[in-house]
């Protein structure tokens, strides 16, 4: 079995999943770092993901669309807060409007990924915490969301041009 442990903390609204892969750490890192690979596992089979922006640097953004069987799409975004290839990646994951603007009224998730070499393979720990609006407000104060809107605007400008 790939998943070796699951810890649920209802009080802290935190889920920690530990998995072991029979693959080198660099290859597991690529699952996150290569947008073409990321889109093959991020969304469920019923809602495959298309990643149209992918910048895994601190402050960088990832934008994606999940496409449902009924033609409905859900837009999502990441804001990267920490990255250290190939061992750690932290980001905030949230919903976006159809134009890519982050929706701050809806809950977001703070995700921490840790990779380690383990028994000739790789151990991956993913900690997901449902974030509060207060966290989002802090993110907004830091200007992180403005930057995001800007980069989306630039993308749109490129598409028009």
């Amino acid at each position: 079995m790939t998943v070796t442990s699951v810890d649920k903390d209802v009080d802290r609204l935190t889920l920690t999943v530990v998995a072991e892969f029979d693959a080198a750490i660099e290859r597991v890192w690529r699952m996150w770092a290569d947008p073409r690979l990321l889109e093959r596992w991020w969304g469920p089979v019923s809602h495959p993901a298309t990643v149209d922006e992918h910048d895994l640097s601190v402050g960088g953004a990832v934008r994606y669309v999940l496409s449902g069987p009924d033609g409905q799409t859900t837009r999502g975004w990441w804001r990267v807060t920490n990255v250290d290839p190939p061992v750690s990646l932290d980001f905030v994951d949230g919903f976006a409007e159809p134009d890519g603007t982050p929706i701050t009224e809806r809950s977001t998730m703070t995700v921490q990924v840790r990779l380690a070499r383990h028994k000739g393979g790789t151990r991956m720990e993913v900690r997901s915490v449902f974030s509060s609006r207060e966290d989002m407000e802090q993110l907004a104060r830091m200007g992180a969301l403005d930057l995001f809107v800007q980069s989306v605007g630039q993308m749109d400008a490129l598409l028009v041009g």
């Binding site: 699951v6 209802v10 290859r27 093959r40 809950s107 449902f130």
Partner: protein
Amino acid sequence: MVVGVSADEAVDGLFHALADATRRDIVRRCLRGESSVSQLAAAYPMSFAAVQKHVAVLERAGLVSKERRGREQLVRTDVDAVRRARRALDQLETAWRGRVDRMARLLAEVPDPDASAPSRGRRR
């Protein structure tokens, strides 16, 4: 984000409501038995108005209900709502198990770049 978990607006409100330490404490306190808003206000180092605001957020999320009895407003936790939070975490677990499975399958499928010839272009 996870489709079917947070896509549910009601669950969104639930998580927002529970994402604050004071509000979590109010939920715990009022699970053991109802408390008046003034009793709650006495328990936290914040104003009556601030506690009232927290209770309002919890009420909107359906985590507590408020009942007026005389001059007192009694707050009680809705056990079903706490179960909903638990269920949302269960769904998140299912989502991550799926992701891990797909990653494992993909790792088995995509050739090891060190073990084989360099790939010719990436597949979409």
